[in-house]
C-alpha cells in the first residue's frame, strides 16, 4: 500500500496554507541541472546543487527548525524568478532572503555580493575592500565557497585578481554557464 500522489500533495498544500512549515523545499529543474531550493516564511534560505535531500534536510532544520517539509508552494516565488533568470528575462532578483544562522562577517559580505550587477564581475579582494577588510580576500573566498544561496547571491560573478575564474562550489562549468548567460566572456 502506498500514499497516493494526490493525498500526499493535499497534505503538503494544507501544511503550507496553515503556516505549519518552518522550511519548505523542492527540487527544481534548471539549465545547470537540478537545484535544491528551500524557503522559510522569512524568505529564500538555500539553493544547492547537491539535490539529495538526505544531505540537505538536517542542515535546513538547523537553520529554521524541525518542521522541514517538501512543499512546492513554499518555493513558488523562487521557482518563478529562477525560471525568468535562466530564460534571460530577469536581471535582478526580488526575493526576500533568510540569512539566519550565518556569522556577521558572512552576512556583510553577502550583502555586498548582492550588489554586484548582472553581467559584471568583481574580485575577491575588491569585495573584501567593500566590507572594510581589504586584506580579507581569502576569507571572502571562503564565504563565496560556502554561499548558501548561489545564483541569487551571485558568487559566480566573483573572480580572481588576474581574471581567472578560480573556483565555484557548484563546479567551474556551472560558473562559466552562468557568466555566459549574463553575457560575460
Amino acid at each position: 500500500m502506498t500514499v497516493s500522489p494526490d493525498l500526499d500533495r493535499r497534505f503538503r498544500e494544507a501544511a503550507f496554507t496553515l503556516d505549519l512549515v518552518d522550511i519548505g523545499f523542492d527540487v527544481l529543474d534548471s539549465p545547470i541541472g537540478p537545484l535544491f531550493v528551500a524557503a522559510s516564511a522569512r524568505g529564500l534560505a538555500a539553493i544547492s546543487f547537491q539535490t539529495d535531500p538526505e544531505d540537505q534536510l538536517e542542515r535546513m532544520a538547523r537553520i529554521g527548525g524541525p518542521a522541514v517539509l517538501r512543499s512546492p508552494r513554499s518555493v513558488e516565488g523562487a521557482r518563478r524568478e529562477l525560471d525568468e533568470y535562466f530564460a534571460g528575462r530577469r536581471r535582478i532578483f526580488d526575493l526576500a532572503l533568510d540569512l539566519r544562522a550565518l556569522p556577521a562577517f558572512t552576512v556583510s559580505v553577502l550583502h555586498e555580493l548582492a550588489r554586484v550587477p548582472y553581467g559584471e564581475t568583481t574580485t575577491y579582494g575588491a569585495l573584501a575592500a567593500r566590507v572594510g577588510r581589504p586584506k580579507a580576500a581569502r576569507a571572502v573566498g571562503t564565504v563565496m565557497n560556502r554561499n548558501r544561496i548561489p545564483i541569487v547571491l551571485p558568487c559566480h560573478r566573483v573572480v580572481g585578481a588576474s581574471g581567472d575564474l578560480v573556483g565555484y562550489a557548484g563546479g567551474l562549468d556551472r560558473k562559466i554557464t552562468l557568466l555566459e548567460l549574463e553575457g560575460v566572456r
Partner: protein, 154 residues
C-alpha cells in the same frame, strides 16, 4: 551516557510513518474516510512538532494521534458509538507495554497514561496526540492513574 534522540526533519518522519498511519486509518475508517483522517493526523503532528523535546517513540506518538483522529471521526459519524470498545481493538502499536494494565480505562485517559508513563512523552506531545490542550492531557493522565489505583485496590 544517555543522549536524547535527535528530532528528525519532519519530512523524514512523514516518509517513515505515512504508510503505516494510512493502513491503520483505513482499517478503522474505510478507504474513503481514511484520506481526510490521514491529513488531519499529520497536520496535528506537524502542529506539535516544533515543541517536541526529543525524537524518541515518534512511531507510538503518531499512531496514537491517528487512533484519536479515527476516534473523533467515528464519534462524529455515530454519536452513540461506544468509545471504550472502539479504543481497545486496534491500539496495539502505541499501547503494547501498558496494554493489560490500562485496558479498562476510557481511550483518552488510557492514551495519556501510556504516553506519559510508558513512553515518557511531554504533555505537549500527548496533547497533540489527543487533539487537546497540554492541561487537558495532564488531567487525563492523572485521572487515569487515579482510576487505575482505585481499580487495583478494589
Amino acid at each position: 551516557m544517555m543522549h536524547a534522540v535527535a528530532i528528525p526533519p519532519f519530512e523524514h518522519f512523514y516518509e517513515q510513518h505515512r504508510v503505516e498511519v494510512l493502513r491503520l486509518l483505513r482499517r478503522r475508517l474505510g478507504a474513503e474516510r481514511a484520506d481526510d483522517a490521514f491529513q488531519e493526523t499529520f497536520l496535528r503532528a506537524l502542529r506539535a512538532y516544533r515543541r517536541l523535546e526529543h525524537g524518541e517513540h515518534l512511531r507510538a506518538w503518531v499512531l496514537t494521534i491517528a487512533q484519536n483522529v479515527a476516534l473523533d471521526a467515528l464519534r462524529r459519524a455515530t454519536p452513540t458509538a461506544e468509545l471504550v470498545e472502539s479504543g481497545a481493538e486496534d491500539s496495539r502499536p502505541a499501547y503494547e507495554e501498558l496494554a493489560a494494565l490500562t485496558d479498562g480505562l476510557p481511550p483518552k485517559e488510557r492514551a495519556a497514561v501510556v504516553l506519559r508513563y510508558g513512553y515518557d512523552l511531554s504533555y505537549d506531545q500527548i496533547a497533540a496526540a489527543l487533539g487537546s490542550s497540554p492541561n487537558a492531557a495532564r488531567q487525563a493522565a492523572s485521572t487515569g492513574v487515579r482510576r487505575l489505583r482505585r481499580s487495583v485496590s478494589s
